[in-house]
Point group: C2
Chain length 584, copies 2
């Protein structure tokens, strides 16, 4: 199973470029790091991977998809915490003025892990840079003081200079911002999965690694909403006996480097995974990667430690895939975002993001009620009295009184509210249901990385020829059609066949140039699973040969049987051998 | 055929919002003009329209699709001419500081057509505003001097302040920028259609009209490259007898308001359409709109006059659709971009964008050759001698000598080159082919407008109920499945059926809440063509009823026949009546 370790990354990128899967954009202008163009094969492959994603996640859970814009008003990312948190430490060389990510310098030149630098303050970063005498890798110059660089793209929306907009660094926020309407449209069901696949932007300081770290990329975000008091996953039965290759945080901090194979049920019992839905999605994610060709043994889930996690995450696992030159590479993140985002937007927009869930039957409950006492508030707060009254009226009474009990006062918007300002009463009321902010688990995939990984995984050398052994479901082109010779009726017949298969919805490639051997080689390199050749016998008995990309064996089949058999083959209802009779 | 003219636009937007097709984004933050969110039904509808677009254009011409980024280095749009041309005249109210598009003010308050204002300089705009005493529509304040506002979004790529990036206002430029590689990948064939469907950005000054004028939108750009010396369209036969509803520029400037029905062959003969491929695509565009439900009589193609055209266009037609409240609305532009873009990028990048086309047999041709004469250049240009030598060496010899003949000198990069600096020779050479920059026709569609139009076109009131009569190809959801009653085996059976149809690749909606009448109404409003009901008889004889959205008639059909019949129905191989036996 070992492939040529020295050159696989280069070989894959070379084939990607030459055959038009993808390449760095703007080459004629000297390039622009972090941007990639998909050519015809890559664009097909990418869309197939997106379709596979929909089949793997959306269908079984009846999740709903949305599409919104990339440019986003500042307020959204102020509320979500991104404006505050989405930044990287950067240093500038005092000599050549080049700028670098300080954490990458520490990793590359001082061997300090990302996990370690995540913990450091700017001051500590500065100290570490000095302690390890780190110099500019380009000119050996000295570095200035590290600063934070915000890694969202900034722009202005419309002609007003104060109307700041950001390029979204994820596709999740628009789901949270539009949650109320989406929840209504979905007829208020929970659990509810909402999904967005689309471009996102991160203004990396100095991106490298081709398709792995891009400034513009495609993300597939699933936001799965559920009731935290009813957090059971009703589909857990289907996956609880499966194992996941896990590096849980507790064991990681004790030095665990190799993933353990842990049963889902055990991972939940041991508390390795915080909530059932997260575990369920991790299994789906493993299977999804399987369907792109990545076997279990090249996958693992590694937990992020507290300081490595995004600001919104209560628990986070990265799904990683083992790549040739790049080593373990993140392909998806599985975060338990709790009610963080909805609560933030609730706070910033003042729009209620709670949902209402009816009880099976009404319940009698003791409730605390509070009311502002105007006669004591007036003298105490003067012109701010109105504000204080609003605070008390709008507060969650039971939480308000808990705080009052604990501290003897409640601090709200800088007002110190005392017991004498509040009238408290208790009543037994009949409640039909409860209101709450749903919790969210988020599986989030980087689609471009998956495209690269599908390519590297499919790549194989056979007799000095490159073959891309894509699983048949994601092969960008499904069938090639060749006339054995170009002239006369064979060419016409082959073109007719090409047209017919294309109308049937297959992606078909017609090729009549060069020897049949050259054409097979070209098709193998493009990862086309089946090659159909129209030869002299075709004109006599209406049969054609079909050749298998993986084994180079051929079968002969009658043309009228071709379409149903091909459909069955691509639906994995039959094998290649079932397609027709083996002919050589 | 008349629908309720007063409220259709509102009714469609109301249904779009309530049922989750689309709505203005960021409502919880008070909205942000020019951004729209697609909900579940809208996102499905949009993807169906994109798929229909691919079927209509990509398949018959074997065009190739690409995907690239939205953020683009400044150089690309400097070369393309957008930085210079992509701007609108803007005025600011001196009192309330609000900003407006000056041309829109002139249109709305002084009845000066867009076509007229396009011609005006900033000074003339200013004069017209004064002449018509135009005031701020918000506060009646006076306006300051008009300025140009660049309608591309501006950002910075990476941490360097001079690294300007623009949000692309079209998806075409990356095709031009990557043309060399794409041409190679396509094995150097011409004609060659390259396509990109993706988000684009225009920083409108004050967008309105909901889904029609957005700041972020989805564009589908076809760049169709051909040899200008071999500009015949080989598929013209298929369309030349069709008629197009045309308002050619020559007749438009003479006052023609209603489109003429002109045969394609005649439109070409009369010179109404400049080149055959443009005419061919206009017919495909008309048919494409047909397939979205828009009949011929609600379409027209109106030519843009010289001053109305984009800077890259030698001829341009807008395809327009007649809408209820919005009137004639542009849905696509058909521009003859010639070799403008490739030449610009060739100039700015210094990369040769020419293609080579082999002659059937080599030709003997007389060629002019020029060489710099160093002994005369040296003294004349001194330290610039090297530059002049480069200019002469790099020049197109025959064009250089044509200019020399005409003017007696050649002006290049500010150097005046005289006959004495150039040695001219003539030779007969054998040439195997010729080099040239391909020409381009560009059909370009606004996908969001098509989504709105599909909705408005499908909208119908029947017995006080809204029905969206989408053509079956673009209906977001194809089938609804209902158990007549929820309890017991009927519910189970219906869910099983839902799952099975979903696995077959159909988009299926399961609904068990409310009366069957309510459920039919809900399905009609979502535009679901077929509703399947599982009833008591189903358990006895394994049949179900299928109800037609458009006629409300029902047929009864055996479950094993359902999948093949549904597939045939959605492929338009059979009608609704063929699905089963009419049951009431």
């Amino acid at each position: 199973m070992k492939k040529n370790n020295v050159t696989m990354y280069e070989a894959v990128n070379e084939i990607a470029r030459r055959r038009g899967f993808f390449w760095p954009s703007y080459e004629i202008y000297g390039g622009a790091s972090g941007f990639m163009t998909y050519g015809p094969l890559g664009s097909l492959l990418k869309r197939k991977i997106e379709a596979t994603f929909r089949d793997a996640f959306l269908k079984p859970l009846k999740m709903l998809e949305i599409e919104s814009g990339i440019i986003t008003p500042a307020k959204v990312f102020e509320a979500s915490g991104h404006v505050k948190s989405f930044k990287e430490p950067m240093v500038e060389c005092t000599k050549c003025r080049r700028k670098f990510r300080a954490d990458h310098l520490l990793r590359d030149q001082a061997n300090i892990s990302d996990s370690e630098t995540e913990k450091l303050t700017l001051k500590q970063v500065s100290k570490e840079l000095k302690r390890h005498s780190i110099q500019c890798p380009e000119c050996k110059g000295e570095f200035g003081h590290p600063q934070y660089f915000m890694t969202m793209f900034v722009t202005r929306i419309g002609p007003y200079s104060d109307s700041v907009g950001y390029g979204r660094p994820e596709a999740a926020q628009s789901i949270f911002v539009e949650f109320r309407r989406l929840f209504e449209v979905a007829r208020e069901r929970l659990p509810l999965g909402l999904v967005q696949i689309g471009h996102a932007l991160r203004n990396e300081i100095s991106p490298r690694q081709g398709p792995i770290r891009l400034r513009e990329f495609t993300i597939a975000d699933i936001e799965f909403f559920f009731d935290p008091q009813d957090a059971k996953c009703n589909l857990l039965k289907q996956v609880e006996d499966e194992t996941l290759p896990l590096i849980p945080g507790t064991l990681k901090s004790q030095g665990l480097k190799e993933a353990l194979e842990v049963k889902v049920s055990e991972a939940l019992q041991e508390g390795y995974i915080a909530t059932e839905w997260l575990a369920y999605f991790m299994v789906l994610a493993k299977r999804f990667l399987n369907s792109l060709g990545v076997p279990d043994e090249k996958q693992r889930f590694i937990e992020k430690l507290r300081w490595e996690r995004a600001h919104y995450s209560a628990q986070g696992y990265d799904q990683e895939v083992l790549l040739d030159r790049l080593g373990w590479t993140e392909v998806s993140g599985h975060n338990y975002r709790t009610d963080f985002d909805l609560k933030q937007h609730m706070k910033w927009s003042k729009v209620d993001m709670q949902v209402f869930k009816e009880y099976d039957q009404p319940k009698s409950v003791d409730r605390v009620f509070i009311k502002p006492i105007r006669s004591t508030i007036g003298p105490a707060f003067k012109e701010d009295a109105k504000k204080v009254i609003d605070v008390i009226t709008g507060a969650d009474a039971s939480r308000f009184m808990q705080e009052m009990k604990k501290k003897g006062y409640v601090l709200a918007e800088n007002f110190r509210i005392l017991p004498e300002h509040v009238q408290v009463s208790r009543k037994t009321v009949e409640e039909k249901g409860r209101k709450f902010v749903p919790h969210v688990v988020e599986p989030s995939f980087g689609i471009d990385r998956l495209v690269y990984i599908a390519l590297e995984t499919a790549y194989e050398k056979k007799k000095d020829r490159a073959i891309l052994k894509f699983p048949r479901e994601i092969a960008p082109i499904q069938v090639a059609v060749f006339p054995l010779v170009t002239k006369g009726d064979l060419g016409k017949k082959a073109q007719e066949l090409q047209r017919k298969l294309s109308e049937e919805g297959l992606e078909v490639f017609y090729d009549e140039s060069g020897s049949i051997g050259r054409r097979y080689a070209r098709a193998d390199e493009a990862g086309i699973p089946l090659c159909i050749t129209v030869d002299k016998l075709t004109l006599a008995d209406n049969t054609i040969t079909v050749r298998d990309r993986n084994t180079w064996t051929q079968v002969r089949i009658k043309i009228p049987e071709l379409v149903p058999n091909l459909n069955a083959y691509f639906d994995r209802k039959i094998t290649f051998e079932d397609l027709g009779s083996i002919s050589n």
